[in-house]
Amino acid sequence: MSDISSKSPSDGRAVSFRGGGFAPKSRRWVGFAVFAFLILIAEWGTRSGWISALTLPKPSDVLVTFHELYQSGLLFKHLGLSLGRLVIGAAIGASIGISVGVLIGLFSYIRSGLVPVIAAIFPIPKIALLPLFVIWFGIGEGSKYALIAFGTFTPTVVATYGAVDNVDRTLIRMGQSFGLSWWSIVRKIVLPGAMPGILSGLRISFAIAIILLVAAEMLGAEYGIGAYILEAGSLYDLERLFAGVVILSLLGVLVSGCIGVIERRVLGWRS
């Protein structure tokens, strides 16, 4: 071995850095900047004319339409009815979905019996069943709740039983080895253990609920954000169409935010 102390530092080269990257961090303002940029492009394009009125409405006109909707008081009529449908439908679908998912996760016969059924109904476009729902549940609110509930049910079931399957079996063995009752094990080990999976499933389910809201309001709805969008679409009124779409997007952001809050509260134990 050579004597390193006899060599001067000028003999050495600095080791070049080749690490770093591959670790995206959240930079909140970038998202806003991208939105603002896209909107400005659209505004500029529609004003200067290289985006035709047929292609895209002026963002400023959409804002005006939104303001008019707010001032007429109809915004809250639409929003109230839609939120009601969304909340009731999604609550029914999610609660039944979680219950069935847990049962599938726990019992062999229920699993063998229901998993193929769920697999069969998952890919059905729920919109296609709308006429059937109208016959079953009537043209009023019933069919709308049913459609949204059905649409949220299947992804919730799949997410839930997947989450139950993923609960650490050693925790369950531990519960058994301490003589915990079946119900205690389900309540205190399986459910909290499955909660992260269930909540991330609910994120998807609720997004689907918002998508289905428009479909649900296709039939027999006079008011509601979906009905408003459909009417705007059939009248080819792009300003109203976009105003409605923006409301739906905001609704999606809101729902996602709510689940985020719940996750932080309920899943604080995760690192």
Binding site: L171, S177, F178, L180, S184, K188, G193, L267, W269, S271
Partner: protein, 255 residues
Amino acid sequence: MDIRLDGVGHSYGDAEVMRDITLDIASGQIVCIVGPSGCGKSTLLRFIGGLERPDHGRILQIGTPPEGCLNPLTYVFQDFALLPWRSVFGNISLVLEDHGIRGKTAKAIIDDVLARTKLTDFASALPRQLSGGMKQRVAIARALAVKPAVMLMDEPLSALDSQTRELLMDDLVDLWTRQPFTAVYVTHNLAEAVRLGHKVVVLSRRPGQIREIVDIDKPLGDREFGDADLEAHQKHLWQLMRDEARAADAELLHV
């Protein structure tokens, strides 16, 4: 309360994993079970704990569990098995809740076991905030809370680094010295076996059979890291196991 294994044997499908194991576990003693991988040490422990049923033979409890015992056969798991969403206190309270022990009574028990495992200051910590050694002490505290007749310890120190392992062995010895408990202690680490075992049971490779039972008479409290007589026991055990371990290793490769 004693435990007696009477001609226990078992197969998984065509593969016989253990054969004709007969063993007495006396009250107040720690019995270590060592053997090469795949010899059925952990399976044997699950039989004793009633989590699995053997094909042949019986496992008997002799005598009645001591007064106030909530869960006679209590496990300590290799990977701790703590609920990550419950605090240290909550994890221990979990095993008391089903026995209707809540409130003040529960707090008294939990405070006692936390003090015995030197965890008093960490009662409200979540598992993710604890080191591996502390997690295993929580698991031991939890086991102590139900006043077990026999502790079934499945490689409890294997997931820990060697320094933590030494510290925890000292803790276990302290615990036993202050209040002797009965334990079946499965390990593949011979140093642990000679340090903690009153009896060391050596199992052969698959199908697991008892090769030899080594009694170590030196009191637990007097045993120390690097004791010459313990080294001798350990050497003897290793000689017993070496060929078995090598054959078992080759066997696994051929599977």
